[in-house]
Symmetry: C2
Subunit: 417 residues, 2 copies
C-alpha cells in the first residue's frame, strides 16, 4: 500500500487539538537549565492505547500508566528525563501518582486520564522537591507548539530530539499523526521499546486503536536493537482525539487499514531514528532475513546477527565479515543449513551456499564503509522473512556507559540516598 502522505511540521503536538509544554526542573542537572519535564494535553477527550516493557522489573510510571490505561482513555501525558523512577519501590509509585495528581488537578481532569513516563538513571528516588513546584508552570505553559519542546525535554543520552508528523486523507477528512521518541541505549527488541508518544486527530475507538498499536509496534520498535539490553521503562503511548471531524474508524474497514498503514509509517520512522541516534553509533544496518522456514526462524536469525558483539564490532571497523554473520546465523537456534545460506552486503554477494562468493573484497568494503547499508541473509529453506534495524557497537559506547557515579553523587547531595 502506498498512500500519499504529506510530511508536516512538528511531532506530538502536530495533530489538531493537542497542546504541549516543557520546562526545566533540574532533574537532569540541578545547575543547568536543560528541559526535563514535558506535558502533552488534548483539548478533547481521547481514546488511547499503549504497549510497555516486558521486563519483569517495571518502573513505577510504567505500572501507574498501565493502571490508568485500563481505566479508560488518557488525555494527558507527563514525562520526565534524568531519572527513570525504576527500582524505587512503594515510594516510586507514590511519586508517579503525585506527578499525575498534580497535572490532573491543574488541568481539571481525572488522575486516571493522565499517563506518566520517566527515563534516566535507575535506582535513585525521584527528586520530587524539584518536580512538584514546576507542575503548575508546566500546565500554564501549554500551547499549540507542535511538540518540539516536548521532544527536547524527554531525551537523555540522545544527541538530538526525534519527532515526525504526517497528514493524509482518510475518507475525505484530513487526518494528522505526529509523534516523538527518545532512546539511545538499553535498546533491544521483544517489547515496546523506549519512550514514544504519538498523537492523532483521527477518530478511532480504543479497542481498534489498541489492535493497530500492537501490530505497528511489532513491525517497528520490536525490530530495532542497539545493545541488546531491554529497559525497565519502555513505553509507547498513542492518543487519538477525533478532532479531525471524521466519523469513527470501524474495525477491519478499509479506513482502519489505511490508518494502520499511516501509523506504522510514523512508528517505523521514529524507530529507525532511535537506531541512527544510538549511543556512539556510527552505522545504521538493515538486516533482511529471507527464505526461512517460518517467521520465527527468520526472526531468530535476524536477532542473533543484530545482537552479536563480534558482528557489530566488525561493522564498526568497516569489515564485511560474512564469516561472523554466518556464525551468528548458526547459533541463532533457527533451523538453518550452512550449505544453503547466501549473504549479500549492499546487494553484492559475500557468501553463496555457505562459502565465500567471488565479489572482490574491495567492493564489499566500500559498502560497509558507508554509514548506512543493507545485509540480506537468504536461508533458501522456505518463504518466511523478517527485517531488523541495527547498529554497530563502538569502543565509545562502552566508554560512555562505564559509570553512572556522577548521578549517585548528585543524589547524595540532594539527600535522596
Amino acid at each position: 500500500m502506498d498512500l500519499p502522505f504529506t510530511r508536516i511540521k512538528g511531532g506530538v503536538g502536530a495533530a489538531t487539538g493537542f497542546l504541549t509544554s516543557a520546562t526545566s526542573c533540574g532533574i537532569k542537572n540541578p545547575d543547568a537549565k536543560r528541559l526535563d519535564l514535558a506535558l502533552v494535553y488534548s483539548e478533547h477527550p481521547c481514546s488511547s492505547a499503549g504497549t510497555f516493557t516486558t521486563n519483569r522489573v517495571k518502573a513505577a510510571p510504567v505500572r501507574v500508566s498501565q493502571a490508568h490505561l485500563r481505566k479508560g482513555g488518557l488525555r494527558a501525558i507527563v514525562a520526565n528525563s534524568g531519572n527513570a523512577n525504576a527500582c524505587t519501590g512503594v515510594q516510586g509509585i507514590h511519586d508517579a501518582n503525585a506527578m499525575c495528581d498534580g497535572v490532573a488537578r491543574a488541568l481539571g481532569i481525572r488522575r486516571s486520564e493522565v499517563g506518566v513516563c520517566s527515563t534516566g538513571v535507575i535506582g535513585l528516588p525521584m527528586p520530587m522537591m524539584r518536580v512538584e513546584p514546576m507542575i503548575a508552570p508546566l500546565v500554564a505553559g501549554l500551547g499549540p507548539k507542535n511538540g518540539a519542546d516536548f521532544a527536547a525535554a524527554i531525551i537523555t543520552s540522545d544527541t538530538r530530539p526525534k519527532e515526525t508528523a504526517i497528514s493524509f486523507d482518510l475518507g475525505g477528512h484530513r487526518v494528522r499523526i505526529g509523534g516523538c521518541v527518545k532512546g539511545a541505549g538499553m535498546i533491544s527488541p521483544s517489547m515496546a521499546t523506549m519512550l514514544c508518544f504519538i498523537t492523532t486527530d483521527a477518530n478511532i475507538p480504543s479497542a481498534t486503536l489498541r489492535k493497530a498499536v500492537l501490530e505497528c509496534v511489532e513491525d517497528s520498535f520490536n525490530r530495532i536493537t542497539i545493545d541488546g539490553d531491554m529497559s525497565t521503562n519502555d513505553t509507547v503511548l498513542v492518543l487519538a482525539n477525533g478532532a479531525s471531524g471524521m466519523p469513527p474508524i470501524r474495525r477491519n474497514g478499509s479506513r482502519c487499514r489505511e490508518f494502520r498503514h499511516a501509523l506504522r509509517q510514523v512508528m517505523l520512522e521514529l524507530a529507525k531514528s532511535v537506531v541512527r541516534d544510538g549511543e556512539r553509533v556510527t552505522k545504521f544496518v538493515t538486516v533482511r532475513v529471507r527464505g526461512a522456514r517460518t517467521y520465527l526462524d527468520a526472526k531468530k536469525v535476524a536477532e542473533a546477527v543484530c545482537k552479536s558483539a563480534l558482528v557489530k564490532s566488525s561493522w564498526n571497523g568497516g569489515d564485511p565479515n560474512w564469516g561472523r554473520i554466518l556464525h551468528a546465523v548458526g547459533y541463532s537456534r533457527a533451523r538453518i543449513r550452512e550449505e544453503l545460506v547466501d549473504i549479500h552486503i549492499g546487494g553484492k554477494a559475500a557468501c553463496l551456499g555457505g562459502l565465500q562468493a567471488a565479489t572482490p573484497m574491495e567492493e564489499l568494503r566500500a559498502v560497509v564503509a558507508k554509514p548506512e547499508f543493507d545485509i540480506e541473509i537468504h536461508l533458501n529453506q522456505g518463504s518466511a522473512e523478517y527485517t531488523m534495524y541495527s547498529s554497530d557497537l563502538s569502543p565509545e559506547y562502552i566508554d560512555f556507559n562505564r559509570s553512572e557515579y556522577a548521578y549517585w553523587k548528585q543524589a547524595r547531595k540532594d539527600g535522596l540516598v
Copy 2:
C-alpha cells in the same frame, strides 16, 4: 567433596604415556616463527570422549572429529591455530581429513584414531601447502614434554598459554589429569566452549568417560561468557590411556565420583583461565544466583546478567551499578519478583528487596575496583542456584575486533581467495 589433589607441572602431556609436539608452519603469520601446529599422542590405546559446539554452523574439523569419536577411542589429536577451517565446505572436510591422514600415516595408527581441531579466522581455506610439509617433522618431534609446547601452539588472541595438571590417589593408584585450553573471544555458554584438550592416565571406559565429560563441561565451560558469541569450532576432547596401572573405573562407583570430581576441578580451572585471559578483559566476575524457583530460572538470570553489554560496561568502569544488574534480572524471562531480589557485591548488600541497600557507595566501589569480585543475586523464591564466570566488556575489546582484513590480504597473497 574435598579430595587432596597435588598440582603437578605441565598440561596435556602431564599424564603418563602422553607425548606432545608443536611446530610453526606459518598459518598464523607466514613471516613469523610462531607455533601454530600441535600434536598430542598416547603411547597406549585410549578411551575418549568429547563435546562440541551446538552452533549449526560447524567447522570441518568438528564434523571430522565427531565422526572419528563415534568410531572408537582417539589416540592422537592434531590442532592448528590461525585458521578455523570453518565455512569452508567440502574443501574444508577434505583438508581436515588430510591432516588426520598425515598424522595417522606417520604414527602407524588408523585415521579414525586421530582427532583434529582448528581455531582462528572463519571463512578462509586452510593453507594446506604450508601445513602438509610440517606433519612429518611434527610427529618426529614427539616427546615427553608435559604439553607446554602444545598449549602455546593452539592460542590465537589469547595473551598466554593456559594449562593445568593435578595428580591424586584413586583406589591406591596415582592418577594424573592434565589439560590445556585456548579461547579469548567468541566465548559464550550453552555449548562446549572453545578448544580444550585433557589427558589422563586413569583407566576409564569411553561410556563412563563420556558421562563424566558431559557433566563436568556443564559445570565449567558452559558457565563462562566473555562476549556472548558462540563459536563454530568449540571442542572439548578428553583422552584416557589407563597408563596409571589402575583397574577400570566402574560407572557410578565411588572411584567414578572421585574421578569426576577431579576432572571437574581441572575443567573449572581451565574455564576460569579462559575468562581471565578474555580479549581485553580487566575484570573476572563470579555471578552466583541463589533462591530461584528452578535451576533453569537461576541459569536464565545468571546468563542475562553476564551477557548484558550495559552491566559489563559498568564493571569495566568500576561502577557497582546494581540497577543495571536488576534490569537484566528482569528481562531474563526467569520468574522473578522485583521486590524480593537482593544483590550483594563482594559480600556487601547493594540492593535489598529490589531497593538500594544502606551500604555506603564507596565500599561497593572499592569492591568493583578490584580485578576479581563476586556478585550474589538472591531471588528469594526457592532453593535453586547457578553460578557463572564472566568478564567486563572494554572499549579495547571492540577495537580489537573491528577488522580481520589483514587475514584476507594474506589469504589473497597465498592465492587461497
